[in-house]
Assembly symmetry: C2
Homo-oligomer: 341 residues x 2
DNA sequence: GCTGGCACTCGACTGTAGCGAGTGCCAGTC
DNA sequence: GACTGGCACTCGCTACAGTCGAGTGCCAGC
């Protein structure tokens, strides 16, 4: 397929103009706004080819052209130039850094920052437990038959869960349980704990056995099986920008999708541990409700390791270069912040 | 003002029909669908009076009537009959009860349940810390100069916070700190802790003083001053029902308001500890962004005490009797659930 | 291979007309 | 005095015709 440089330039111009104006762009307007060095007629010929190849389309005859998902894809892959952050944006990111006291705090600030910068819906996954190591397990007796298990992960995440013991357990035994559990599990990757937990039960003294059994069940259940992923969301109000033109008039499916944590995890949760930025455009999306949306996401984590994902979701008609730059920048800053702890 | 029984019946009929059909209701349709026992002309006269009094209005001449905020208010206060829950709804509420393992779990299930039942946006406040008593404070050393403080409240809430100590503190001292803090604070209402925390610092031994000071600062800061209220939200997709007719076409302000925790707290957070159901209709709302919405909310808590609020938000054109019934029922069930712990 | 010119298409907008739901008013009835 | 039937009137909604103009595809010429 013969897509010479000028045709690519035309496509790029169409994408840029359409993203900016939200209106189908015609050949005349194009040559006026961009230095293409050719006449509208020539551009029209190029457009015809681009349309034939499926990169742009006409909403109706006698209207300008609009990029297709495929067109955006080509644009993102080959045509977009990196857009450096503005000083204001850079400052905004740095400012948000200071004063975060907590993992919770960091995640909340991040998601708000991202929503504000990109003016899209922002999604941040808490550091995945599967990628975390146990830093400490605390057992707090609530009553003689109730224990609060608090797990602190090296990523800063803290999870707690109530455990109902089969029989009353004296305080000394709780101390023993705490020691045993910590000796065995501290420092190990959460995904790899099941055999260790199993061993824990088998090795424990007879009088501790029943308590240890329920304890281990709960540990496995909450921390590993029902993989406790968390998500923070912000900027849903941004969906209403572009007044119903985006998302073919109905926010319904989008809002529904955003309420499903599983869906969001699929979107921005890191599958392979890489920090490459991923861009999903419209139809490429596997979730039916989000066929009209695009997602820009990446992994983040302290140093080179990746512990979670973050990203933004918006209309296919979005500023890809800008959003990609911001998502990357924010991810890097969050990573640094996590590394400090 | 002469609002005799029939005029009230007319208003009620208008509200019910408008809520059901979402269309301005005319005099003829009214007498057909309700047994008013009079002719359309008579109804028209009544309508004229109701309009004069500000209970209904005409979107334009030659259209049917629509209730005003004031009309809804009268309807809610004097005209609506209690709507008993259907067996299906009752079952749904009971079913959600079983299997909740955690406060987090309870809150999440509740908010989803409420959204599903009412088909509105549901909001649930976590049990307020101000209303909670300290059950236990755990100090977990992360490093020699870092402490994780975990507070467990009697309402089931668990809050944690990282504390940076001014100087390394040996393990025995942490044990001492833990003992002191618990002796002093366990069992006391969180709102009343500030003087106790103050005393804690003054009474502590010299070598513990610096650590205790920072510890107390953090405690006060996170638990009392920056009153750590939490909110769960569900069902935002329900806002799109009624296709843009509700909320005068723009979801924007609503979505914005829903992102502000402070706003939500003002809405459903319990100000006075009563379990009365509150209904805010349209303009009665103090938040400008929510002038087109109504809120039904109530307090909940174990037994007779109230520890938090929950409710639903939707268009002024909502099924008030139904929503009130459901909000109440859910609050009662959640209360029972909390009492069991 | 590019360009200017030209005929053509078709959505957006405007103006007009008819329809019908719904009203307000009034005179008449119980 | 309260209710009712009748009637003229209002006004939004829909359909339809006409115009405008942005944008196109194609073609002959450079």
């Amino acid at each position: 397929m013969g897509l010479d440089d000028r045709k690519l330039a035309v496509l790029r111009a169409i994408v840029e103009d359409y993203v900016a104006t939200q209106e189908p762009v015609g050949s005349k307007a194009l040559v006026e706004r961009h230095q293409l060095g050719v006449s509208p007629a020539t551009v029209r010929n190029d457009m015809a080819v681009l349309e034939e190849e499926g990169y742009i389309r006409q909403p109706h005859t006698s209207a300008g052209r609009v990029p297709t998902d495929r067109g955006y894809r080509l644009f993102v892959d080959r045509l977009s130039r990196v857009k450096p952050l503005s000083p204001a944006e850079r400052r905004a990111i740095e400012r948000f850094l200071v004063g975060a006291v907590d993992l919770d705090d960091v995640v909340h600030r991040t998601v708000r920052l991202l929503a504000q910068l990109t003016r899209q819906v922002a999604v941040v996954q808490y550091p995945s437990l599967a990628r975390s190591k146990v830093r400490h397990l605390e057992l707090v007796p609530i009553s003689t038959t109730r224990l609060m298990v608090v797990m602190i992960a090296d990523t800063g995440r803290v999870e707690q869960r109530l455990v109902e013991l089969p029989a009353p357990v004296p305080a000394e035994d709780v101390t023993d349980l705490r020691r045993l559990v910590n000796e065995k599990l501290v420092g190990s990757q959460l995904a790899e704990t099941p055999p260790l937990v199993q061993a824990l039960v088998e090795e424990s003294a007879t009088h501790l056995r029943p308590a240890m059994t329920t304890l281990s069940t709960v540990l496995l259940e909450t921390l590993v099986e029902r993989h406790e992923e968390r998500i923070a969301l912000a900027g849903t109000a941004n969906l209403t920008r572009g007044g119903l033109l985006d998302f073919q008039g109905s926010l319904r499916p989008i809002l529904e999708a955003l309420e499903e944590e599983v869906v969001l995890l699929k979107l921005i949760g890191e599958t392979e541990p890489s920090n490459a930025t991923r861009v999903l455009i419209g139809d490429e999306n596997e979730i039916d409700n989000l066929r009209a949306a695009s997602v820009v996401s990446t992994g983040y984590g302290p140093g080179a390791t990746i512990v979670g994902g973050l990203g933004v979701l918006g209309p296919t008609r979005m500023d890809y270069p800008g959003n990609i730059a911001m998502v990357r920048a924010v991810a890097r800053y969050v990573g640094e912040l996590l590394a400090q702890n």
